[in-house]
Symmetry: none
Subunit: 196 residues, 4 copies
DNA sequence: GATGAATGAGCTTTCATTCAT
DNA sequence: AATGAATGAAAGCTCATTCAT
């Protein structure tokens, strides 16, 4: 089979698994579930991924790269720091709408199944693409004098914890307004927190 | 058997389950595991909780009340808003050290196993004790003119997302310094974000 | 406790168990179920019956004696043989309405749980009160020249198999008419089959 | 694996389960028992039948079709009505000897475990193959003037209740003679009951 | 590469019975 | 006589993974 066809099949597994994992959880989603969803046999699945855990880690890389890529575009724009914050917040919320599986996977599958992502994903290994871009954003902000110099993780925790928290509250349907409508206030809150 | 003894046994289950769930996850922790930990037979466990899910929900209530109680103490003190923020941050981080099970349970078990907490915990039902106190904190801050008036959930997402994020990063051992050492910067970031 | 009170409690258990067993089956009915139904503790139940199986056998005796008693009344009347057949059929169908638990117990619990009634109920031991009366009925019929002499069990199988079959079909709700309306045709069928 | 092989495995389960259920009852027979009997793993069993209940219903269909088929052969012969009655009685008793599992399953498992056959087997759905043939038998008998016209279920209850009753008494070992020896008297009793 | 039957350990839950009170 | 907490074996069912075809 051509390399291209194989890559296509692989991507199908990834996208199918992403949907199922994020909706039903890691343990509730079975390999037969995934195989059935994409019209593949169980046996053949194992020709693409050697185990369920390996698949879960690949998914993490996949999302981290996707997210990292989108932040990179923002980083590379010549917007002001505040505009970049707003762009990241808006991008994140837009993903909550358009690719909820990705955000859910990050929030629910990755953050909570430590035992699954244990070895091979120590520290920030599996999400480095994404973290790297966030680091660049902060460094740029500090360099240009817009942001206070501080421990990266304190700033990162604020930013991503905030966005994740809002995505969670949105998923729980406790927010009184649409997620979009919070972009302004959140941007403002983050900027006020981090600016010089 | 006295009601007192029964309540004591019940609490033993709760504390044992809390430790096991938060360490190993909901699905990886079995009822036999829990029973063995506290020296009880599997069958007898079911005389106290009718199912694993019911236990999980009770745990959530238990933690929510515990956390709510601690925040209430802070709310009722006559500290300034900024001091209260610092007290909440410090309390939270202290709990990450002294009662890591509770924080982990909130972050990993509750936030990620939607299917488990589905019915009976819609919206904020199961965590209302905790949320209520956070609402009071914000209302007080706004009333005394220290905090800007804004959508509660935007402020709440910032505060708790931030703290949860830091607890998570701490658990992943990616923080370069001890959690305590972040209390100042985090308090400052939160206060800057929310103040008038 | 007085002997009278004790007998009353015992009867309560019997009547409660009869209802539950006949509705839910022997294995589906638990001792806690029975105890709860009659407002007795599980432990106390065992002061009245030493095991679930012993209870089941007592129930059988109870019903057999009840049924035997009713047939005896018919046997002792001075009706003709055909009138007696009709009286038995009518009495049986009346019981299907008024004491369905008894009939159901006979048909469903006794006939199908051989392992339960195994020892102690070999052959007709546990239902002898009832069988004895049926034997008397046949003997009388033969003596007075109304019925052909034949193997008792062939006649008994016809009579009780027929009635049990109709009760079953009634329970399955497949009968197009009310059970009562079949009394005539069934009496006639039985009489034709057995008469000289 | 070929479809043929799969069907063969399926039949092995059916025959094995039939033996075990009819001997030990529905609840006393476990899936591990069945799997062990036919040399199959527990897990694989569930690749053939999705649950124990589904298996029980399939068994009923299987027997109903087998019995229906044998009655059909008799119906299609050009014997007289009385000869057909004798043929059905003889066939039934022959099955009590040669395939006791089937008769026992009908009498003990199906008739008594209503909750198991509840949905999906309402009324006569699961035994229609068998009932249909019995209906044909009666209709033919009435058409040719041998049998009186009467409610089908009254005649059916007599016929099958009688045979079932005798099979039961035989199983209980209370019959003084071999089952075969009753063929004549039973045929006669049934014919007398139903004839014009 | 592709299939899906097969494995079997392991899960949650049940329940007859006992026994300290 | 009465209570109900406690036991623990056993049930039905699941699922990651393998492997013959």
């Amino acid at each position: 089979m051509s390399t291209l066809k194989r890559l296509k099949r692989r991507e199908e597994i990834i996208e199918g698994a992403l949907k199922l994992f994020s909706k039903g959880g890691f343990y509730q989603t079975t390999i037969p579930d995934i195989a059935r969803t994409i019209g593949m046999s169980v046996g053949n699945f194992y020709n693409y991924f050697t185990s369920k855990e390996v698949l879960a880690k690949e998914l993490l890389l996949y999302i981290s790269e996707y997210l990292g890529e989108r932040i990179r575009t923002i980083n590379e724009s010549d917007a002001t720091t505040q505009e970049k914050i707003r762009a990241i917040v808006a991008m994140y919320f837009e993903m909550v709408q358009s690719r909820p599986e990705m955000i859910e996977y990050f929030l629910r599958i990755f953050l909570s199944n430590r035992e699954v992502f244990g070895e091979g994903c120590e520290g920030t290994v599996c999400v480095s693409a994404f973290i790297t871009e966030m680091m660049l954003f902060f460094d740029d902000g500090v360099s240009c004098g817009d942001l206070r110099e501080q421990d990266f993780f304190s700033a990162f925790g604020l930013f991503m914890g905030y966005l994740g928290g809002m995505a969670f509250l949105c998923g729980e349907k406790v927010l009184p307004h649409a997620l979009d409508s919070y972009v302004d206030s959140i941007t403002q809150n983050i900027y006020r927190a981090l600016k010089t």
